[in-house]
């Protein structure tokens, strides 16, 4: 899966869903459903950080959760709002969560393919804010691109990614980076019961719980 193209897709929100479906080999829908299955319950307050066109938010809402999707890209939110009016969509950055959600007001915080867009400082800040906004026992689920664990797969991943990154850079003057040490960063932020899943070698879903 080639997330290097994500920046290109994000510059044209209307193509995002079709593009990400293609790039994930048709697997992104099952990732959205899996995140929702881990985090959403009927009546639960769920926050989707960097919701984009709303894939995860809507999957959580379908399970009966009260969902707020936040994204800094108004174009992405326009697409999301056209899909569902049952989710609350907010145009804010991940570092503005504290302005809109009170302490311990959330049952779950989810995020898919947004952490790779953030600097390490912002990642730490968002994890810290998520921890303060989740109720004790609340669940955090973060999914993103990572480098494969096995050496051979990692080399192949880098070789395959390099030319695509170059093309993406030329087309959009931006790029994405795989997230490093995601599970460890989540543990450092104070979360426990950390579990990981790899739907495919370069993609990681991390689930964790805020301690009671």
């Amino acid at each position: 899966m080639t997330y290097a193209f994500m920046r290109r897709l994000e510059s044209t929100p209307s193509r995002y869903d079709r593009g990400i479906e293609l790039l994930s080999g048709g697997r992104i829908g099952s990732v959205y459903d899996r995140i929702a299955e881990m985090a959403a319950r009927p009546g639960a307050n769920v926050l989707d950080v960097g919701c984009g066109t709303g894939g995860v938010s809507i999957a959580c809402e379908v399970l009966g959760a009260h969902v707020t999707g936040i994204d800094r890209d108004a174009g992405m939110l326009e697409i999301a709002a056209a899909k569902s009016n049952a989710v609350q969509w907010l145009e804010i950055d991940a570092t503005e969560i504290e302005d809109h959600f009170g302490p311990e007001s959330l049952d779950a915080v989810v995020s898919c393919l947004a952490f790779s867009e953030m600097s390490p400082q912002v990642q730490r800040y968002v994890l810290s804010t998520a921890s303060s906004r989740l109720r004790p026992g609340g669940r955090l689920v973060i999914a993103d691109e990572v480098e494969p664990d096995r050496v051979g797969q990692r080399v192949w991943y880098r070789v395959r990614r390099a030319p695509v990154m170059a093309v993406t850079w030329l087309l959009t003057q931006t790029g994405t980076r795989p997230v490093k040490d995601l599970a460890r960063s989540i543990a450092t932020a104070g979360f426990t019961q950390i579990e990981t899943e790899r739907p495919w070698p370069s993609f990681l879903i991390v689930s964790a719980v805020k301690p009671s």
């Binding site: 108004a74 570092t95 503005e96 600097s119 003057q173 931006t174």
Partner: protein
């Protein structure tokens, strides 16, 4: 140019040369709080984007001063292009304030924003979210010391974009650096090494002439096609003469020379229009302009502070802004984005209007968006 003015250390020169020649590509500097000199709790906080050349330029301009430089994530792109393209917004500045630790390092909650971020960074959204006061600084980093000495006020001349010879040569080097070798390598198998070198060389000369003679070219008041066409023809003529001199003049070499001249000027024209705050973007439709709704204007004159082309002036008697130089307008929409009264908007010749909320959502990234949003 950056590599000329930098320290004469081998590594710095190599990095600067690399940055300058490849400045079309994004170069990410680290984001966060950068101390300049020995700043203390009362030192000014200046915002910029994380493009390496920009950060270096601001640091150089502030040599001998004590200040905090708050580097926001502009995705490695310069402030003007990043703001116009939606890559540097108020969200990035808010994020920088909250994650950089600046709140623990200074007592005053006062930020200076670069004027050229006004197309994408909504000043009031920063103030609402953080409680900091944000003000507009000058368009050029070189004017920051005078701006600070004046107590944080920009002079009119500091709000207008300048494009002096060193900057123009830097832009020319940016294009000549990759364009000439790429053209040479592409044309070599087709026309032979000698003819390819002549083709690439004259293209380089044409680009150099475009940027070198920019102030004297009539590019501000017209779409520019005649200018670019003239430069292409002149380069073609010089190329023909050179090919003839070296006995390389054949129909095929002439054809490839013509193609190279047209392609190079086409690329340069796109870059000229929109990439600098001097000419209107070439993706703009030509049939619209900024409209000032005078009955809504309350004279806060924020539009005047962010206009890089001195289009708007404050009428002290009427206590309202007026459009003084409409021909200078490059339709960047900075004034529309920042007006607290929504007294400015775009109006097409056929009467359709684009309201400020649409522009704040789409910024300069037209791509047909403003038309479809009507």
């Amino acid at each position: 140019m950056a590599f000329v003015l930098d320290r004469l250390g081998g590594q710095t020169i190599m990095i600067s040369l690399f940055d300058t020649l490849l400045r079309i590509l994004p170069h990410r500097a680290p984001t966060g709080l950068v101390p300049i000199g020995t700043p203390d709790r009362s030192s000014p906080v200046l915002v910029t984007g994380n493009y390496t050349l920009t950060v270096r330029r601001v640091r150089r301009a502030l040599t001998g001063r004590d200040a905090w430089l708050l580097v926001a994530d502009s995705k490695g792109i310069n402030v003007w292009c990043a703001s116009g393209g939606g890559h540097l917004t108020h969200h990035d500045v808010i994020s920088a304030i909250r994650t950089s630790g600046v709140q623990d390092r200074v007592d005053r909650r006062l930020l200076v924003l670069p004027e050229l971020c006004a197309t994408g960074v909504e000043r009031r959204r920063i103030e609402e979210a953080t409680g900091w006061t944000a003000t507009w600084g000058p368009a050029s980093a070189e004017d920051i010391p005078a701006f600070l000495d004046r107590g944080g006020h920009t002079a009119r001349s500091e709000r207008a974009t300048r494009f002096p010879l060193p900057d123009r040569l830097e832009m020319a080097a940016m294009w000549i650096g990759p364009l000439v070798p790429i053209l040479w390598l592409v044309l070599w198998p087709i026309t032979g090494a000698g003819a390819a070198a002549i083709d690439a060389g004259v293209v380089g000369l044409a680009v150099l002439a475009l940027y070198g003679f920019f102030p004297w070219l009539p590019l501000r008041t017209m779409r520019g096609i005649p200018v670019y066409a003239t430069l292409s023809v002149a380069a073609f003529g010089i190329g023909i003469a050179a090919l003839a001199l070296f006995g390389l003049l054949h129909p095929s070499t002439m054809l490839w020379l013509a193609a190279a001249c047209v392609v190079a000027m086409g690329i340069a024209s796109i870059d000229m229009a929109g990439s600098t705050p001097l000419l209107s973007s070439s993706v703009n439709p030509s049939d619209f302009e900024v409209e000032l709704l005078s009955n809504r204007c309350t004279g806060t004159a924020e539009c005047v502070l962010v206009c890089p082309r001195e289009v708007l002036v404050m009428d002290g008697h009427a206590h309202k802004v007026r459009i003084a130089e409409p021909a200078n307008c490059i339709l960047c929409a900075a004034c529309i984005v920042q007006c607290p009264e929504d007294a400015l908007r775009f109006r097409f010749d056929d009467g359709r209007v684009v309201e400020p909320d649409v522009i704040r959502r789409t910024r300069m990234n037209l791509l047909g968006k403003r038309k479809t949003s009507l």
